[in-house]
Structure formats: C-alpha cells, structure tokens
Amino acid sequence: MRQKNRSRYLGDLLIYLAIIGAALWGLRIATTAQAYNWQWYNVPQYLYKIHEGVVYPGPLLRGLITTMQISAGAMVIAAVLGLLVAVLGMSGSRVGRILARGYIEVVRNIPILVLLFLFYFVVAPIFGLGRFASGMLTLALYEAAFAAEIYRAGIEGVPRGQREAAAAVGLTRAQQMRYVVLPQSIPLILPPMTNLAINLIKHSAIVSVIAIFDLANEGRNVISETFMVFEVWFTVALVYLVITTALSFLATGLERRFARSRASARAR
C-alpha cells in the first residue's frame, strides 16, 4: 500500500514538473520573441515605498485597498439584499415572488459589464452617485442575485418538519425563520457564500472601466509608465491570488468546523 502511494506521488511530481517546465518554456519563447527586458527589481517600488523609515503603500497596494473597500462594501450590501430577495421570493405574496424572480433572472442574464455601464450612465446621475458608489452598488446588485439563490437553497435545505414544529409551538412566521430555520441553514449557506465573496473580489476588477483606481487599473497605469507588462500582471495576479486563497482557506476551515460540531453532537 505504502509502496503504491509513493510511486503515485512520484508520478504526480513528474507531471507537475512537466507542466511548470512547459510554462517556463512558453514564457521564454514569448519574451525572447519580443526581446523582453525583465526588470523585477523595479517592481517593489510600485508596491510600497519607504521614506524616512515609514512604509507608504505604492500604487499597486493603494489599488488593492480600493479593491478591498469596494468588495467589502459590495459584499455586505449583497448579503443583506440577497436575503431580502430570497425571503421575498419565498413569501406568500405573489407580487413579491414575481419581483424577486424577475430581479434574479434579469441580473443573471445581463453581462456585468453592461450592468455597470447602465448603472453608471443611467441610474447614477438620477441619484447623483459618484464612480465609487456606482461600482460598489453594481457589484452588490449583481452578486445579490446569486446570494439570494444561495439563501434559498440553504433555507429549503432545512427539513420542512422543523418549520412546522416551530409553527406548532405558536411562533409567528418571522419567528419560525429567525429562531429555527435560519440558524440551521447557516452551515448550508456559509461555504457557497465564501465562494461568492471570492467571485466578487475577482469581478471587482471590472470597475476599472469607469475609471476607479482599483488593483487592476493601477496595474495598467504602472505598465503604461514602465512597460513592465509581464512583471506587473504577474504581480497583480499574485496579489489577487493571495487574497482569494486566504478566503478559500477560511471557507474550508468554517466548513470543517460546522462538520465537526455536527458530528460531535451526533456522537455524544
């Protein structure tokens, strides 16, 4: 058994090396064809600067801060709005259900780029909203449609008998939701919600097109000044990767915690 495992690891390792080798080889072809001049040593100053012992963020980190602000704000709004849409969609009111369904279908079937332009050029002037607010709200509106579906699946994943039992002890509909259904749906909702947050961070790069200086846009700026196309895009990609991977780990951790607390509750 152990012998077999070891030989499989060796096989995996060879495959990894082959893939990395192929990637490097491709990169070499691309750079030599353009006579590319690597300047990795020039990259750090665009991430951070040290002036008289104090660290200041460079354009790329400032962009990252903007990306995180927009993503965090959009995530909070999407989480709340999504819950409202989900509850509306499952309510007894026919109008409410049609509204919720319509919202989800419209948002899901329009490219986010088009949504962003619609919002920025049509809706934002009506309410006097700036670029930052437009970007954040468009992302929030877009992800809320997916959040609503996640909530719905989570709520419907709780057995019907739980809700009936809550009704049978005299709770109102809102109380049934709050004290019985929602607490039990959290373990079903949290993992896909973390995935949604990761998607939101990636999608937030789109706000570049309305001149918000997020991480992706700052990257483009740095390139237009320095022509370090490869280095900067690699750096930008790496920064996104670090943030989203950290979130993924968080999600796996949460999933495990819920799985464990359930299992231990069963075993006790």
Binding site: E164, A165, A166, A168, V169, G170, T172, Q175
Partner: protein, 251 residues
C-alpha cells in the same frame, strides 16, 4: 383506566362539513366531528384516508376549503392572519418528532414559552423541567436531540408541546416512526396526559391505547368519517363493512 367525560361539557373542537382539496383530489369530504373538553378521541383508518390532514386543519398547518372549524366555540376564520394564536392553545406532536436539531432538549422546550408566551428564561426553564419530569426524561435536558433514542425524542416532543400549556393536544401518529420496544414509553406518557384530563385527538394505530384511553374512536376512509363510536362498541360491534375490514387487518 381513564374516567369517561360527561356529555354536558362544552365543545373543545367542532368540525362541521369540513372539505379540503389538493387540486382535483378531495382529501376531506364533509367531515363532522365534535370533541368535548377533556375528551380523548382516537382517529384511525388506512393511510391516505385524510386523518393527518384533518388534525393539521385544526391547528392551521393546512387550510380547509369548505365547512367550519371551531375551537372552544370560536371559528378559526377569526384567526386567519394570526394562526400562531391558535397554535399557542393547540399543541401538536408529529410522527417524525421534529425536535429543533440545533437546540438542546431544554431549549426545545423553552423556545415557544419564551418567544410566543413571553415568559422569562427562569420561569420557562422551570416549566420545561416540570414537563420533562412528567415524561420521565429530566436527566437528558442538556443533550441534543441527535443524542437521544426515538422514544426519548418523542417524549421530549410531548413535553415541548405541553410547555405551551395547551388546552388541546393533537397527536399525528406519534408512535409510527418508533422501534417496537420504544412505543410503550411514549404511550405511557400519553396515558398519563389523558389521566390529567387533557383534551386529546390522536391519530394512531395503537388499538390497545384506543381501548384503554379513548372516549370515542373515529374511523376514516377515503376522506370521510365512516364510523364514530365509544371503543367498547367500536371494537366489538362495528356497524360499517369498511370498519370491519380494517379492524380485521390490524387486530
């Protein structure tokens, strides 16, 4: 043995001409049923005969489409927008127990009293422990439902319903999901409740329970009440052919 109920007691539950449809299928046909305060009624009949549907209409988990349902003389129509007010007075025990799986036993019992009846925590807990003792399970108060056997879970479910101090208790096949060796402990809890004078409507196939506890046995088939009689008559001299056929199968 439980004392019989005198016929001059006021009506706790009254159904008159109650009908219900699921699309084309008529689940309840012109149901007439009267249950007096303190009376124990057992409802039996083949599966799909509308027994569960009938008692679920009483506490508004289902809506009826024709006829009238009165609880303590009041029509349930008065509470159409606030069915929780009916359910605070009419307790229910389910076939599948339906204990709140994210709460301990005592939390299960306290939720209704605290949130619906607005009792204080200490008072609710005291009441919960009282009823958990009544169903002989106080030592499990701080465990989670998944740590209990089926019989224990169903006794907790009975205690949970009693914590609301209901005037009427509905039982929807409370022993059907249990292993045979656990049925007795649940029936004992129900018999104790009957001895305390609780108004009960029990959908069950436990004919021993019907014989010892019931004041009245109702036989339903295909959405109709076919026969209703005191257990002594019901088991020895059933009037309807369908009742006889059913009793032959289950006794």
């Amino acid at each position: 043995m439980v004392d019989a109920v005198s016929p001059d007691r006021p009506l706790a539950v009254e159904l008159r001409g109650v009908c219900k449809w699921y699309d084309e299928f008529q689940a309840l046909k012109d149901i007439d049923l009267q249950v007096r305060q303190g009376e124990r009624t057992v409802v039996c009949g083949p599966s799909g005969s509308g027994k569960s549907t009938m008692i679920r209409c009483i506490n508004r988990l289902e809506e009826h489409h024709g006829g009238e349902i009165r609880i303590n003389g009041e029509s349930v129509e008065l509470y159409e927008a606030r069915p929780h007010l009916i359910r605070q007075r009419v307790g229910m025990v389910f076939q599948q127990f339906n204990l709140f799986s994210h709460m301990t036993v005592v939390e299960n019992c306290c939720l209704g009293p605290i949130k619906a009846l607005k009792l204080g925590r200490a008072e609710a807990r005291e009441r919960a422990m009282h009823y958990l003792e009544k169903v002989r399970i106080p030592e499990q108060a701080d465990k989670y439902p998944s740590q209990l056997s089926g019989g224990q879970q169903q006794r907790v479910a009975i205690a949970r319903a009693l914590c609301m101090s209901p005037q009427i208790m509905l039982f929807d096949e409370p022993t059907s999901a249990l292993d045979p060796e656990m049925i007795q402990e649940v029936l004992e809890a129900m018999i104790a409740l009957a001895e305390d004078g609780m108004t009960m409507i029990c959908v069950t196939h436990e004919m021993g329970f019907a014989r010892t506890v019931a004041d009245s046995v109702v036989f339903m088939d295909r959405g109709e009440i076919v026969e209703q009689a005191p257990p002594s008559e019901f088991f020895t001299a059933p009037r309807s052919e369908r009742t006889r056929a059913f009793l032959d199968k289950i006794l």
